[in-house]
Symmetry: C2
Subunit: 217 residues, 2 copies
């Protein structure tokens, strides 16, 4: 049975994006610093169509996630921002002609749209009937692999609150952002809890894996 797995980089002060996003800094002030650990890795570069890069414990963690992923779920902001102008014109999102997913990607949105087939195995499928429907479709597409919940924070919080998230791998990055988008906001400890299942460390980032369980109180 496919698991739903969150895999996300978080600052030590709990943010997955910095404050005041702009066109120049779409991840907010300092937000790019959350992802610096990943850009030079061989596994990340390969998924983005580049050769070379570092092979180390961080690249192994990334490769493991790529290998385990049969489908992806993301929010509309992560696909392409905002709510429009998807209905009117063929806006194809942030991810270029050959997106780095190489599997079906289910995008949560309120705007119905035909599936968008890209190069390299990525197809964006737009789901308008909610998080449970998206999960059902993604699990069917993933076969015996996992469904990766790519973000953002709001979508992660919805799946967490609904008790639908099985596992969370948080890449805890030694940066402070001071504001922005918190990953673990509005959590109800009466409904959900976590159990630590694995820690992998490197100088750049701490990879913390948790099983998500029903709340303890």
């Amino acid at each position: 049975m496919a698991k739903l797995r969150l895999d996300i980089s978080m600052s030590l002060d709990g943010f997955v994006a910095g404050p005041n996003p702009t066109v120049e800094e779409p991840l907010g002030a300092g937000g790019e610093g959350l992802h610096e650990w990943v850009f030079g890795l061989a596994s990340w570069r390969e998924s983005h169509g580049h050769s070379g890069g570092a092979v180390n414990v961080d690249s192994e963690v990334v490769q493991e996630s790529i290998d385990a992923t049969g489908a992806v779920i993301m929010g509309r902001n992560m696909f392409g921002g905002g709510e429009g102008p998807w209905g009117e014109e063929p806006w194809q999102g942030w991810w270029g002609d050959d997106p780095p997913f190489h599997v079906p990607v289910f995008v949560l949105t309120h705007h119905a749209r035909e599936p968008l087939e890209m190069q390299g195995g990525t197809t964006f499928i737009f789901v308008t009937d909610g998080i449970e429907a998206a999960l059902e479709q993604a699990k069917a597409a993933a076969g015996d692999k996992d469904v990766l919940l790519a973000g953002g924070a709001n979508v992660a919080q919805q799946y967490l609150a609904a008790g639908l998230l099985d596992e969370a791998q948080i890449h805890l990055v030694p940066v402070l952002l001071g504001g922005g988008v918190r990953l673990l906001d509005h959590v109800d400890p009466g409904k959900v809890g976590v159990e630590l299942t694995r820690v992998i460390e490197s100088p750049a980032v701490t990879h913390l894996r948790y099983r998500v369980v029903s709340g303890a109180r």
Copy 2:
């Protein structure tokens, strides 16, 4: 030269105390769960006047902190709550006749009071002229050992903002509290940053040690 070192347990969602503290739950709803990892450890039990207990990687981390500490700084709430009735009567705080510190403890308060000498080597010294004065006195008392910043969050934030904190060891506990007192709130990344220097893991808790540095932007 003595370092100022923060050593504190934090929930995965960033809290060092839960919401809605009461007489029965002074650490707030679920807050006790932040410290469960420590109660059974031999090193913690010894500092609290008990024998026995578990000897493992967690107890080593606690023992290391105890051994390195020559003086402690804490806020008034951590000593004994609120602002009164210290002036009128000999309220001796939460910590009993033989507090677990066994070194001089500098308490930040607005109420002047004579030092309070307890059993077992703990003396509470009440400092009314601010965080820098407290640090100066604590460093003098610590000799060649460190000054431990015991908390709470508000005091930690003051020392962090003032650029006076040298090191932070965060015991990241796999619990979700959903609200309460955040450790890393009101951080200005223009002034302070962190560098990861050590990770020690156990099934119960992840011990993350950071060097505190000047801000990157």
